[in-house]
Protein backbone atom coordinates (compact mmCIF):
# COMPACT_ATOMS: atom_id res chain seq x y z
CA UNK A 1 0.00 0.00 0.00
CA UNK A 2 2.80 2.38 0.96
CA UNK A 3 4.71 1.47 -2.19
CA UNK A 4 1.67 2.17 -4.30
CA UNK A 5 0.96 5.61 -2.86
CA UNK A 6 4.66 6.42 -3.10
CA UNK A 7 4.59 5.43 -6.76
CA UNK A 8 1.54 7.61 -7.38
CA UNK A 9 3.25 10.58 -5.75
CA UNK A 10 6.43 10.10 -7.80
CA UNK A 11 4.36 9.81 -10.97
CA UNK A 12 2.42 12.99 -10.16
CA UNK A 13 5.65 14.87 -9.40
CA UNK A 14 7.24 13.65 -12.61
CA UNK A 15 4.14 14.71 -14.54
CA UNK A 16 4.30 18.24 -13.08
CA UNK A 17 8.07 18.56 -13.38
CA UNK A 18 8.42 17.30 -16.95
CA UNK A 19 7.23 20.49 -18.73
CA UNK A 20 9.84 22.52 -16.83
CA UNK A 21 12.71 20.13 -17.53
CA UNK A 22 12.06 18.78 -21.01
CA UNK A 23 12.20 20.59 -24.34
CA UNK A 24 9.05 21.25 -26.36
CA UNK A 25 9.97 18.52 -28.86
CA UNK A 26 10.24 15.89 -26.14
CA UNK A 27 6.86 16.88 -24.73
CA UNK A 28 5.46 16.44 -28.23
CA UNK A 29 7.01 12.96 -28.33
CA UNK A 30 5.51 12.11 -24.94
CA UNK A 31 2.09 13.15 -26.25
CA UNK A 32 2.65 11.03 -29.35
CA UNK A 33 3.60 8.02 -27.22
CA UNK A 34 0.57 8.51 -24.98
CA UNK A 35 -1.86 8.87 -27.89
CA UNK A 36 -0.44 5.86 -29.75
CA UNK A 37 -0.44 3.85 -26.53
CA UNK A 38 -4.17 4.53 -26.11
CA UNK A 39 -4.86 3.26 -29.61
CA UNK A 40 -2.73 0.18 -29.02
CA UNK A 41 -4.35 -0.35 -25.62
CA UNK A 42 -7.57 -0.97 -27.53
CA UNK A 43 -5.81 -3.75 -29.44
CA UNK A 44 -4.42 -5.18 -26.20
CA UNK A 45 -7.98 -5.46 -24.87
CA UNK A 46 -9.51 -7.08 -27.95
CA UNK A 47 -6.58 -9.17 -29.18
CA UNK A 48 -4.42 -9.64 -26.10
CA UNK A 49 -7.16 -10.16 -23.52
CA UNK A 50 -10.06 -11.55 -25.55
CA UNK A 51 -7.95 -13.30 -28.21
CA UNK A 52 -9.87 -11.82 -31.16
CA UNK A 53 -7.65 -10.50 -33.96
CA UNK A 54 -8.64 -7.04 -35.13
CA UNK A 55 -7.34 -5.05 -38.07
CA UNK A 56 -10.03 -2.40 -37.61
CA UNK A 57 -8.03 -0.24 -35.22
CA UNK A 58 -7.00 2.30 -37.88
CA UNK A 59 -10.70 2.70 -38.78
CA UNK A 60 -11.57 3.47 -35.14
CA UNK A 61 -8.73 5.99 -34.98
CA UNK A 62 -9.93 7.61 -38.21
CA UNK A 63 -13.54 7.81 -36.98
CA UNK A 64 -12.39 9.35 -33.69
CA UNK A 65 -10.17 11.94 -35.33
CA UNK A 66 -12.47 12.85 -38.20
CA UNK A 67 -15.64 12.65 -36.13
CA UNK A 68 -14.52 15.10 -33.47
CA UNK A 69 -12.87 17.42 -36.00
CA UNK A 70 -16.03 17.53 -38.16
CA UNK A 71 -18.23 18.17 -35.12
CA UNK A 72 -15.97 21.10 -34.21
CA UNK A 73 -15.63 22.70 -37.64
CA UNK A 74 -19.22 22.28 -38.83
CA UNK A 75 -21.26 22.63 -35.67
CA UNK A 76 -18.84 24.43 -33.37
CA UNK A 77 -18.87 21.56 -30.90
CA UNK A 78 -15.61 21.94 -28.89
CA UNK A 79 -13.08 19.10 -29.14
CA UNK A 80 -12.96 18.45 -25.38
CA UNK A 81 -16.62 17.47 -25.50
CA UNK A 82 -16.63 16.11 -29.05
CA UNK A 83 -13.89 13.52 -28.54
CA UNK A 84 -15.67 11.58 -25.75
CA UNK A 85 -19.03 11.84 -27.51
CA UNK A 86 -17.59 10.50 -30.76
CA UNK A 87 -15.69 7.82 -28.84
CA UNK A 88 -18.93 6.56 -27.31
CA UNK A 89 -20.48 6.44 -30.79
CA UNK A 90 -17.44 4.58 -32.16
CA UNK A 91 -17.59 2.11 -29.29
CA UNK A 92 -21.15 1.32 -30.39
CA UNK A 93 -19.77 0.69 -33.90
CA UNK A 94 -17.12 -1.54 -32.35
CA UNK A 95 -19.76 -3.37 -30.32
CA UNK A 96 -21.81 -4.04 -33.47
CA UNK A 97 -18.67 -5.21 -35.28
CA UNK A 98 -18.02 -7.50 -32.33
CA UNK A 99 -21.46 -9.04 -32.78
CA UNK A 100 -20.09 -10.51 -36.00
CA UNK A 101 -17.72 -12.67 -33.98
CA UNK A 102 -20.76 -14.90 -33.44
CA UNK A 103 -20.18 -16.19 -36.95
CA UNK A 104 -16.63 -15.16 -37.72
CA UNK A 105 -13.32 -16.00 -36.08
CA UNK A 106 -9.65 -16.50 -36.92
CA UNK A 107 -8.69 -15.78 -40.52
CA UNK A 108 -12.13 -14.59 -41.48
CA UNK A 109 -12.22 -12.13 -38.58
CA UNK A 110 -8.89 -10.69 -39.75
CA UNK A 111 -10.31 -10.36 -43.26
CA UNK A 112 -13.57 -8.74 -42.17
CA UNK A 113 -11.90 -6.21 -39.87
CA UNK A 114 -9.44 -5.47 -42.67
CA UNK A 115 -12.36 -4.80 -45.01
CA UNK A 116 -13.95 -2.47 -42.43
CA UNK A 117 -10.76 -0.39 -42.32
CA UNK A 118 -10.66 -0.21 -46.11
CA UNK A 119 -14.34 0.79 -46.35
CA UNK A 120 -13.94 3.57 -43.77
CA UNK A 121 -10.88 4.88 -45.61
CA UNK A 122 -12.62 4.87 -49.00
CA UNK A 123 -15.70 6.54 -47.47
CA UNK A 124 -13.47 9.31 -46.07
CA UNK A 125 -11.81 9.82 -49.44
CA UNK A 126 -15.07 10.03 -51.36
CA UNK A 127 -16.96 12.31 -48.91
CA UNK A 128 -15.13 15.41 -50.19
CA UNK A 129 -17.68 17.93 -48.98
CA UNK A 130 -17.36 16.90 -45.32
CA UNK A 131 -13.89 15.41 -44.96
CA UNK A 132 -11.89 17.27 -47.61
CA UNK A 133 -11.51 14.06 -49.62
CA UNK A 134 -8.09 12.73 -50.49
CA UNK A 135 -6.47 16.06 -49.62
CA UNK A 136 -7.53 15.76 -45.98
CA UNK A 137 -8.71 18.41 -43.55
CA UNK A 138 -7.14 20.66 -40.91
CA UNK A 139 -8.01 20.00 -37.27
CA UNK A 140 -9.37 22.88 -35.19
CA UNK A 141 -7.49 23.93 -32.04
CA UNK A 142 -8.21 22.13 -28.81
CA UNK A 143 -9.80 24.74 -26.52
CA UNK A 144 -10.72 24.17 -22.90
CA UNK A 145 -11.69 26.66 -20.15
CA UNK A 146 -10.76 29.50 -22.49
CA UNK A 147 -7.22 28.16 -23.08
CA UNK A 148 -6.21 27.25 -26.62
CA UNK A 149 -3.91 24.22 -26.56
CA UNK A 150 -2.04 23.82 -29.81
CA UNK A 151 1.55 22.72 -29.17
CA UNK A 152 2.75 19.42 -27.73
CA UNK A 153 3.76 21.19 -24.52
CA UNK A 154 0.22 22.49 -24.04
CA UNK A 155 -1.67 19.38 -25.14
CA UNK A 156 0.53 17.43 -22.71
CA UNK A 157 -1.74 18.54 -19.85
CA UNK A 158 -4.72 16.87 -21.52
CA UNK A 159 -3.29 13.84 -23.29
CA UNK A 160 -1.10 12.45 -20.51
CA UNK A 161 -3.71 12.51 -17.68
CA UNK A 162 -6.41 11.06 -19.96
CA UNK A 163 -4.04 8.28 -21.02
CA UNK A 164 -3.05 7.57 -17.43
CA UNK A 165 -6.68 7.40 -16.31
CA UNK A 166 -7.68 5.05 -19.13
CA UNK A 167 -4.68 2.80 -18.54
CA UNK A 168 -5.60 2.58 -14.87
CA UNK A 169 -9.19 1.76 -15.83
CA UNK A 170 -8.12 -1.02 -18.22
CA UNK A 171 -5.66 -2.37 -15.65
CA UNK A 172 -8.41 -2.58 -13.04
CA UNK A 173 -10.93 -4.02 -15.49
CA UNK A 174 -8.45 -6.71 -16.44
CA UNK A 175 -8.16 -7.76 -12.80
CA UNK A 176 -11.91 -7.80 -12.34
CA UNK A 177 -14.55 -10.40 -13.14
CA UNK A 178 -14.64 -8.90 -16.64
CA UNK A 179 -10.94 -9.46 -17.33
CA UNK A 180 -11.05 -13.03 -16.06
CA UNK A 181 -14.03 -13.73 -18.31
CA UNK A 182 -12.08 -12.45 -21.33
CA UNK A 183 -9.09 -14.63 -20.37
CA UNK A 184 -11.39 -17.65 -20.13
CA UNK A 185 -12.79 -16.90 -23.58
CA UNK A 186 -9.30 -16.49 -25.01
CA UNK A 187 -8.24 -19.90 -23.71
CA UNK A 188 -11.36 -21.80 -24.72
CA UNK A 189 -14.61 -20.35 -25.92
CA UNK A 190 -16.39 -23.63 -25.43
CA UNK A 191 -15.22 -23.98 -21.84
CA UNK A 192 -16.16 -20.36 -21.13
CA UNK A 193 -19.62 -20.93 -22.54
CA UNK A 194 -20.05 -24.06 -20.42
CA UNK A 195 -19.22 -22.01 -17.36
CA UNK A 196 -22.22 -19.88 -18.19
CA UNK A 197 -20.48 -16.86 -19.71
CA UNK A 198 -22.30 -15.00 -22.44
CA UNK A 199 -19.30 -15.31 -24.78
CA UNK A 200 -20.69 -13.21 -27.59
CA UNK A 201 -21.53 -10.29 -25.33
CA UNK A 202 -18.05 -10.29 -23.78
CA UNK A 203 -16.33 -10.43 -27.16
CA UNK A 204 -18.55 -7.66 -28.52
CA UNK A 205 -17.84 -5.58 -25.41
CA UNK A 206 -14.09 -6.07 -25.96
CA UNK A 207 -14.52 -4.77 -29.51
CA UNK A 208 -16.55 -1.87 -28.13
CA UNK A 209 -13.76 -1.05 -25.69
CA UNK A 210 -11.16 -1.20 -28.47
CA UNK A 211 -13.33 1.17 -30.52
CA UNK A 212 -13.63 3.56 -27.58
CA UNK A 213 -9.89 3.58 -26.86
CA UNK A 214 -8.99 3.84 -30.54
CA UNK A 215 -11.36 6.79 -31.03
CA UNK A 216 -10.10 8.62 -27.93
CA UNK A 217 -6.53 8.04 -29.12
CA UNK A 218 -7.42 9.21 -32.63
CA UNK A 219 -9.28 12.24 -31.29
CA UNK A 220 -6.30 13.28 -29.15
CA UNK A 221 -3.68 12.59 -31.83
CA UNK A 222 -5.56 14.70 -34.39
CA UNK A 223 -5.04 18.14 -32.72
CA UNK A 224 -1.44 17.09 -32.00
CA UNK A 225 -0.71 16.52 -35.71
CA UNK A 226 -3.08 19.43 -36.66
CA UNK A 227 -4.01 17.72 -39.95
CA UNK A 228 -6.01 14.64 -40.96
CA UNK A 229 -4.92 12.79 -44.09
CA UNK A 230 -7.02 9.77 -45.15
CA UNK A 231 -3.85 8.03 -46.38
CA UNK A 232 -2.86 7.63 -42.72
CA UNK A 233 -5.80 5.39 -41.87
CA UNK A 234 -5.37 2.41 -44.15
CA UNK A 235 -4.90 -1.30 -43.58
CA UNK A 236 -1.13 -0.85 -43.35
CA UNK A 237 -1.71 1.39 -40.33
CA UNK A 238 -3.86 -1.23 -38.68
CA UNK A 239 -0.93 -3.60 -39.17
CA UNK A 240 1.37 -0.93 -37.73
CA UNK A 241 -0.71 -0.72 -34.54
CA UNK A 242 -0.70 -4.50 -34.36
CA UNK A 243 3.11 -4.44 -34.70
CA UNK A 244 3.37 -1.97 -31.81
CA UNK A 245 1.20 -4.25 -29.69
CA UNK A 246 3.19 -7.37 -30.59
CA UNK A 247 6.59 -5.77 -29.90
CA UNK A 248 5.41 -4.28 -26.62
CA UNK A 249 3.55 -7.38 -25.55
CA UNK A 250 -0.17 -8.03 -25.60
CA UNK A 251 -0.51 -9.73 -22.24
CA UNK A 252 -0.72 -6.55 -20.19
CA UNK A 253 -1.61 -2.86 -20.66
CA UNK A 254 2.05 -2.06 -20.00
CA UNK A 255 2.90 -3.62 -23.36
CA UNK A 256 1.00 -0.90 -25.22
CA UNK A 257 3.14 1.73 -23.48
CA UNK A 258 6.42 -0.13 -24.05
CA UNK A 259 5.66 -0.73 -27.73
CA UNK A 260 4.59 2.86 -28.41
CA UNK A 261 7.70 4.21 -26.70
CA UNK A 262 9.93 2.04 -28.90
CA UNK A 263 8.12 2.91 -32.11
CA UNK A 264 8.10 6.66 -31.38
CA UNK A 265 11.78 6.83 -30.42
CA UNK A 266 13.06 4.49 -33.14
CA UNK A 267 13.10 7.18 -35.88
CA UNK A 268 15.44 9.20 -33.65
CA UNK A 269 17.92 6.37 -33.41
CA UNK A 270 17.82 5.71 -37.15
CA UNK A 271 18.38 9.28 -38.22
CA UNK A 272 20.77 8.47 -41.07
CA UNK A 273 18.61 5.63 -42.34
CA UNK A 274 15.15 7.18 -42.60
CA UNK A 275 14.32 5.25 -45.78
CA UNK A 276 14.90 1.99 -43.90
CA UNK A 277 12.48 2.93 -41.11
CA UNK A 278 9.55 0.93 -42.48
CA UNK A 279 11.78 -2.09 -43.03
CA UNK A 280 13.11 -1.93 -39.46
CA UNK A 281 9.54 -1.75 -38.10
CA UNK A 282 8.57 -4.75 -40.23
CA UNK A 283 11.63 -6.77 -39.18
CA UNK A 284 10.92 -5.98 -35.52
CA UNK A 285 7.40 -7.35 -35.95
CA UNK A 286 8.72 -10.46 -37.70
CA UNK A 287 11.47 -11.04 -35.13
CA UNK A 288 9.18 -10.67 -32.15
CA UNK A 289 6.43 -12.92 -33.48
CA UNK A 290 8.97 -15.70 -34.08
CA UNK A 291 11.34 -15.33 -31.15
CA UNK A 292 9.27 -13.71 -28.45
CA UNK A 293 5.58 -13.82 -29.37
CA UNK A 294 4.57 -12.45 -25.97
CA UNK A 295 6.44 -9.19 -26.47
CA UNK A 296 8.79 -7.11 -24.38
CA UNK A 297 6.43 -6.43 -21.48
CA UNK A 298 6.41 -10.16 -20.73
CA UNK A 299 9.96 -9.84 -19.36
CA UNK A 300 9.68 -10.30 -15.65
CA UNK A 301 13.02 -9.00 -14.45
CA UNK A 302 13.05 -10.30 -10.85
CA UNK A 303 11.89 -13.75 -11.96
CA UNK A 304 14.40 -13.88 -14.82
CA UNK A 305 17.19 -12.95 -12.39
CA UNK A 306 16.19 -15.50 -9.79
CA UNK A 307 15.90 -18.29 -12.36
CA UNK A 308 19.31 -17.33 -13.76
CA UNK A 309 20.73 -17.48 -10.23
CA UNK A 310 19.08 -20.84 -9.67
CA UNK A 311 20.66 -22.15 -12.86
CA UNK A 312 24.15 -21.03 -11.83
CA UNK A 313 23.45 -22.66 -8.47
CA UNK A 314 22.68 -25.97 -10.19
CA UNK A 315 25.81 -25.80 -12.29
CA UNK A 316 28.12 -26.19 -9.30
Amino acid sequence: MLARSLFAMVAALAFLAAPHVLAEFHLFQICLIAGTALVVLGLVVVTGFAGQISLAQAAFVALGGYGSAILATRWGFPLWAGIPVVAVAVSVVGFLLGQMTLRVSGHYLALVTMAVTAIVQIALIYSDSITGGAAGMPVPTFEIFGYALSTGGQLYYVIVPVTAALFLAVHNLNRSHYGRALAAIRQSETAAELMGLNVLRYKAAAFGASGFLGAIGGGLLAPLSTYLDPAQFGITHSVYFLAVAVVGGMASPLGALVGSTIFVFLPDFLQGFQSYLGLVFALLLLGFIVLRPNGLASFNLPRALSSALARTGDGR
Partner: protein, 288 residues
Protein backbone atom coordinates in the same frame (compact mmCIF):
# COMPACT_ATOMS: atom_id res chain seq x y z
CA UNK B 1 -20.59 -1.02 -74.83
CA UNK B 2 -21.62 -3.75 -72.42
CA UNK B 3 -19.66 -6.39 -74.35
CA UNK B 4 -16.53 -4.22 -74.31
CA UNK B 5 -17.00 -3.61 -70.60
CA UNK B 6 -17.33 -7.32 -69.90
CA UNK B 7 -14.24 -8.22 -71.92
CA UNK B 8 -12.04 -5.71 -70.13
CA UNK B 9 -13.51 -6.59 -66.74
CA UNK B 10 -12.65 -10.25 -67.29
CA UNK B 11 -8.98 -9.21 -67.50
CA UNK B 12 -9.20 -7.53 -64.12
CA UNK B 13 -11.03 -10.59 -62.87
CA UNK B 14 -8.30 -12.90 -64.14
CA UNK B 15 -5.74 -10.85 -62.21
CA UNK B 16 -7.75 -11.36 -59.03
CA UNK B 17 -8.17 -15.02 -59.91
CA UNK B 18 -4.42 -15.49 -60.27
CA UNK B 19 -3.79 -13.99 -56.83
CA UNK B 20 -6.69 -15.96 -55.37
CA UNK B 21 -5.24 -19.20 -56.75
CA UNK B 22 -2.10 -18.57 -54.73
CA UNK B 23 -4.09 -18.05 -51.53
CA UNK B 24 -6.15 -21.16 -52.10
CA UNK B 25 -3.06 -23.20 -52.94
CA UNK B 26 -1.39 -22.25 -49.65
CA UNK B 27 -4.58 -22.67 -47.65
CA UNK B 28 -5.52 -25.99 -49.23
CA UNK B 29 -1.98 -27.27 -48.99
CA UNK B 30 -0.83 -26.07 -45.56
CA UNK B 31 -3.90 -24.71 -43.74
CA UNK B 32 -2.37 -21.23 -43.43
CA UNK B 33 -3.98 -18.07 -44.82
CA UNK B 34 -1.08 -16.02 -46.15
CA UNK B 35 -1.96 -12.38 -45.54
CA UNK B 36 1.23 -11.16 -47.19
CA UNK B 37 0.60 -12.88 -50.51
CA UNK B 38 -0.36 -9.69 -52.34
CA UNK B 39 2.97 -8.17 -51.35
CA UNK B 40 4.72 -11.33 -52.47
CA UNK B 41 3.17 -10.84 -55.92
CA UNK B 42 4.51 -7.29 -56.02
CA UNK B 43 7.88 -8.51 -54.80
CA UNK B 44 7.99 -11.05 -57.63
CA UNK B 45 7.69 -8.31 -60.23
CA UNK B 46 10.34 -6.27 -58.44
CA UNK B 47 12.66 -9.31 -58.43
CA UNK B 48 12.79 -9.04 -62.23
CA UNK B 49 13.76 -5.37 -62.04
CA UNK B 50 16.33 -6.10 -59.33
CA UNK B 51 17.87 -8.91 -61.41
CA UNK B 52 18.07 -6.54 -64.38
CA UNK B 53 19.70 -3.84 -62.29
CA UNK B 54 22.13 -6.08 -60.39
CA UNK B 55 23.38 -8.35 -63.19
CA UNK B 56 22.58 -6.20 -66.21
CA UNK B 57 20.47 -9.00 -67.68
CA UNK B 58 17.97 -8.61 -70.53
CA UNK B 59 14.30 -9.08 -69.67
CA UNK B 60 13.75 -12.82 -70.17
CA UNK B 61 16.88 -14.09 -68.37
CA UNK B 62 15.96 -11.68 -65.56
CA UNK B 63 12.55 -13.37 -65.33
CA UNK B 64 14.31 -16.74 -65.01
CA UNK B 65 16.54 -15.38 -62.23
CA UNK B 66 13.47 -13.95 -60.50
CA UNK B 67 11.71 -17.31 -60.65
CA UNK B 68 14.79 -19.01 -59.16
CA UNK B 69 14.98 -16.37 -56.44
CA UNK B 70 11.32 -16.90 -55.63
CA UNK B 71 12.01 -20.61 -55.09
CA UNK B 72 14.50 -19.53 -52.43
CA UNK B 73 12.02 -17.03 -50.98
CA UNK B 74 9.34 -19.71 -50.66
CA UNK B 75 11.78 -22.05 -48.94
CA UNK B 76 12.89 -19.22 -46.65
CA UNK B 77 9.33 -18.33 -45.64
CA UNK B 78 8.57 -21.93 -44.77
CA UNK B 79 11.90 -22.82 -43.17
CA UNK B 80 12.41 -19.56 -41.35
CA UNK B 81 8.88 -18.76 -40.29
CA UNK B 82 6.07 -21.18 -40.91
CA UNK B 83 7.94 -24.29 -39.78
CA UNK B 84 9.09 -22.77 -36.46
CA UNK B 85 5.54 -21.46 -35.95
CA UNK B 86 3.77 -24.69 -36.90
CA UNK B 87 2.55 -25.23 -33.35
CA UNK B 88 2.02 -21.55 -32.54
CA UNK B 89 -1.45 -20.10 -32.10
CA UNK B 90 -3.51 -19.10 -35.12
CA UNK B 91 -3.09 -15.50 -34.02
CA UNK B 92 0.71 -15.75 -34.18
CA UNK B 93 0.52 -17.37 -37.62
CA UNK B 94 -1.76 -14.63 -38.95
CA UNK B 95 0.54 -11.92 -37.59
CA UNK B 96 3.58 -13.72 -39.01
CA UNK B 97 2.11 -13.82 -42.50
CA UNK B 98 1.15 -10.15 -42.21
CA UNK B 99 4.75 -9.50 -41.17
CA UNK B 100 6.12 -11.33 -44.23
CA UNK B 101 4.10 -9.04 -46.47
CA UNK B 102 5.16 -5.95 -44.57
CA UNK B 103 8.85 -6.91 -44.70
CA UNK B 104 8.71 -7.54 -48.46
CA UNK B 105 6.84 -4.28 -49.09
CA UNK B 106 9.14 -2.20 -46.95
CA UNK B 107 12.23 -3.86 -48.41
CA UNK B 108 11.10 -2.88 -51.88
CA UNK B 109 10.28 0.64 -50.69
CA UNK B 110 13.71 1.03 -49.10
CA UNK B 111 15.70 -0.60 -51.90
CA UNK B 112 13.85 0.50 -55.03
CA UNK B 113 12.25 3.72 -53.75
CA UNK B 114 8.61 4.54 -53.10
CA UNK B 115 7.71 5.68 -56.62
CA UNK B 116 6.28 3.62 -59.49
CA UNK B 117 8.44 1.76 -62.06
CA UNK B 118 7.64 1.03 -65.70
CA UNK B 119 7.34 -2.67 -66.46
CA UNK B 120 7.38 -4.17 -69.97
CA UNK B 121 4.39 -6.02 -71.43
CA UNK B 122 5.02 -9.65 -72.33
CA UNK B 123 2.73 -9.44 -75.35
CA UNK B 124 1.57 -6.51 -77.44
CA UNK B 125 -0.59 -4.06 -75.49
CA UNK B 126 -2.14 -2.81 -78.74
CA UNK B 127 -5.83 -3.73 -78.95
CA UNK B 128 -7.07 -6.01 -81.75
CA UNK B 129 -10.69 -5.88 -82.90
CA UNK B 130 -12.50 -9.22 -82.66
CA UNK B 131 -16.21 -9.21 -83.60
CA UNK B 132 -16.34 -5.46 -82.94
CA UNK B 133 -14.89 -5.80 -79.44
CA UNK B 134 -11.35 -4.66 -78.73
CA UNK B 135 -9.18 -7.38 -77.20
CA UNK B 136 -5.66 -6.82 -75.87
CA UNK B 137 -3.22 -9.73 -76.38
CA UNK B 138 -1.37 -8.89 -73.15
CA UNK B 139 -4.64 -9.17 -71.25
CA UNK B 140 -5.57 -12.40 -72.97
CA UNK B 141 -2.27 -13.80 -71.70
CA UNK B 142 -3.36 -13.13 -68.12
CA UNK B 143 -6.68 -14.89 -68.63
CA UNK B 144 -4.89 -17.77 -70.36
CA UNK B 145 -2.25 -18.14 -67.68
CA UNK B 146 -4.72 -18.10 -64.82
CA UNK B 147 -6.82 -20.77 -66.54
CA UNK B 148 -3.65 -22.76 -67.27
CA UNK B 149 -2.47 -22.52 -63.66
CA UNK B 150 -5.92 -23.58 -62.51
CA UNK B 151 -5.82 -26.61 -64.81
CA UNK B 152 -2.33 -27.60 -63.64
CA UNK B 153 -3.13 -27.24 -59.94
CA UNK B 154 -6.43 -29.02 -60.38
CA UNK B 155 -4.72 -31.96 -62.06
CA UNK B 156 -2.03 -31.98 -59.39
CA UNK B 157 -4.49 -32.06 -56.50
CA UNK B 158 -7.18 -34.28 -57.94
CA UNK B 159 -5.37 -36.69 -60.23
CA UNK B 160 -1.84 -37.36 -59.00
CA UNK B 161 -0.54 -39.36 -56.08
CA UNK B 162 1.53 -36.40 -54.94
CA UNK B 163 -1.52 -34.19 -54.84
CA UNK B 164 -3.37 -36.73 -52.74
CA UNK B 165 -0.38 -36.83 -50.41
CA UNK B 166 -0.58 -33.05 -50.05
CA UNK B 167 -4.27 -33.20 -49.20
CA UNK B 168 -3.63 -35.98 -46.71
CA UNK B 169 -0.79 -34.05 -45.09
CA UNK B 170 -2.98 -31.00 -44.69
CA UNK B 171 -5.96 -32.97 -43.44
CA UNK B 172 -4.24 -35.01 -40.80
CA UNK B 173 -0.54 -34.48 -40.20
CA UNK B 174 -0.04 -37.39 -37.85
CA UNK B 175 -2.02 -39.78 -40.00
CA UNK B 176 -0.16 -38.73 -43.13
CA UNK B 177 3.24 -39.15 -41.48
CA UNK B 178 2.20 -42.59 -40.21
CA UNK B 179 1.64 -43.81 -43.76
CA UNK B 180 5.03 -42.51 -44.83
CA UNK B 181 4.38 -39.01 -46.15
CA UNK B 182 7.03 -36.55 -45.06
CA UNK B 183 4.74 -33.71 -44.11
CA UNK B 184 7.39 -31.00 -43.80
CA UNK B 185 8.63 -31.73 -47.35
CA UNK B 186 5.08 -31.49 -48.67
CA UNK B 187 4.58 -28.13 -46.99
CA UNK B 188 7.94 -26.91 -48.26
CA UNK B 189 6.89 -27.86 -51.80
CA UNK B 190 3.63 -25.93 -51.40
CA UNK B 191 5.38 -22.78 -50.18
CA UNK B 192 7.88 -22.93 -53.05
CA UNK B 193 5.16 -23.55 -55.61
CA UNK B 194 3.05 -20.68 -54.32
CA UNK B 195 6.07 -18.38 -54.25
CA UNK B 196 6.83 -19.16 -57.90
CA UNK B 197 3.17 -18.61 -58.73
CA UNK B 198 3.35 -15.20 -57.01
CA UNK B 199 6.26 -14.18 -59.23
CA UNK B 200 4.46 -15.38 -62.36
CA UNK B 201 1.42 -13.37 -61.31
CA UNK B 202 3.57 -10.34 -60.53
CA UNK B 203 5.27 -10.38 -63.91
CA UNK B 204 1.91 -10.63 -65.70
CA UNK B 205 0.09 -8.08 -63.59
CA UNK B 206 2.77 -5.40 -63.09
CA UNK B 207 2.44 -3.79 -66.56
CA UNK B 208 -1.34 -3.54 -66.10
CA UNK B 209 -1.36 -2.00 -62.65
CA UNK B 210 1.22 0.51 -61.51
CA UNK B 211 4.27 -1.27 -60.12
CA UNK B 212 4.86 0.50 -56.83
CA UNK B 213 5.46 -0.93 -53.33
CA UNK B 214 1.75 -0.53 -52.60
CA UNK B 215 0.62 -2.74 -55.49
CA UNK B 216 0.32 -5.49 -52.89
CA UNK B 217 -3.05 -4.07 -51.88
CA UNK B 218 -4.30 -6.16 -54.82
CA UNK B 219 -4.01 -8.96 -52.30
CA UNK B 220 -7.30 -7.95 -50.69
CA UNK B 221 -9.08 -8.27 -54.02
CA UNK B 222 -7.53 -11.71 -54.29
CA UNK B 223 -8.84 -12.54 -50.82
CA UNK B 224 -12.31 -11.44 -51.80
CA UNK B 225 -12.13 -13.56 -54.93
CA UNK B 226 -10.97 -16.57 -52.92
CA UNK B 227 -13.65 -16.06 -50.25
CA UNK B 228 -16.32 -15.58 -52.90
CA UNK B 229 -15.39 -18.82 -54.59
CA UNK B 230 -14.96 -20.76 -51.38
CA UNK B 231 -11.58 -20.64 -49.74
CA UNK B 232 -10.65 -24.27 -50.37
CA UNK B 233 -11.81 -24.56 -53.98
CA UNK B 234 -9.40 -23.96 -56.87
CA UNK B 235 -12.08 -23.53 -59.57
CA UNK B 236 -13.94 -21.37 -57.07
CA UNK B 237 -10.96 -19.01 -56.89
CA UNK B 238 -11.05 -18.43 -60.65
CA UNK B 239 -14.84 -18.08 -60.80
CA UNK B 240 -14.78 -15.77 -57.78
CA UNK B 241 -12.03 -13.65 -59.33
CA UNK B 242 -13.78 -13.19 -62.65
CA UNK B 243 -17.14 -12.57 -60.96
CA UNK B 244 -15.51 -9.92 -58.78
CA UNK B 245 -13.91 -8.25 -61.81
CA UNK B 246 -17.25 -8.12 -63.63
CA UNK B 247 -19.17 -6.85 -60.57
CA UNK B 248 -16.57 -4.11 -60.02
CA UNK B 249 -16.74 -2.99 -63.62
CA UNK B 250 -20.55 -2.94 -63.62
CA UNK B 251 -20.65 -0.99 -60.34
CA UNK B 252 -18.11 1.49 -61.70
CA UNK B 253 -19.92 1.96 -65.02
CA UNK B 254 -23.51 2.13 -63.82
CA UNK B 255 -23.37 3.41 -60.24
CA UNK B 256 -20.28 5.31 -59.12
CA UNK B 257 -16.52 4.98 -58.88
CA UNK B 258 -16.80 5.12 -55.09
CA UNK B 259 -18.87 1.95 -55.20
CA UNK B 260 -16.37 0.37 -57.60
CA UNK B 261 -13.65 0.81 -54.98
CA UNK B 262 -15.84 -0.28 -52.12
CA UNK B 263 -17.78 -3.18 -53.59
CA UNK B 264 -15.10 -5.83 -53.15
CA UNK B 265 -14.85 -5.11 -49.41
CA UNK B 266 -18.62 -5.15 -49.11
CA UNK B 267 -18.75 -8.49 -50.92
CA UNK B 268 -16.02 -9.81 -48.62
CA UNK B 269 -17.98 -8.94 -45.48
CA UNK B 270 -21.30 -10.11 -46.91
CA UNK B 271 -19.97 -13.48 -48.06
CA UNK B 272 -18.16 -14.15 -44.78
CA UNK B 273 -21.30 -13.36 -42.80
CA UNK B 274 -23.92 -14.97 -44.99
CA UNK B 275 -22.21 -17.81 -46.81
CA UNK B 276 -18.76 -18.41 -45.30
CA UNK B 277 -18.22 -21.51 -47.45
CA UNK B 278 -18.41 -19.34 -50.59
CA UNK B 279 -19.89 -20.41 -53.89
CA UNK B 280 -18.08 -23.69 -54.40
CA UNK B 281 -16.55 -24.42 -51.02
CA UNK B 282 -17.41 -27.06 -48.50
CA UNK B 283 -18.25 -25.88 -45.03
CA UNK B 284 -15.74 -27.07 -42.45
CA UNK B 285 -17.30 -27.98 -39.15
CA UNK B 286 -15.51 -26.68 -36.11
CA UNK B 287 -14.38 -29.50 -33.89
CA UNK B 288 -14.39 -29.00 -30.14
Amino acid sequence: MLAQLLVSSITAGAVYALVALGFVLIYKGTGVVHFGYGDQVTFGAYLVLIAQALFGLPFWPAVVVALAASVLLGALIYGGLMWPLRRASLLAQIIASLAVGTVLREFVRAYMGPSAWPFPFLLSPAPVAVFGVFVVPANLAIVGVSLGVLALLFLLFERTFYGRAIMAACDNRIGASLIGIQVSMVFLAIWILSSVLATVAGVLVAPLLTLSPDMGLIGIKGFTAAVLGGFNSLPGAVIGGILLGVLEALAGAYVSSALKDMISYGILIAVVLVRPQGLLGVLAMKKV
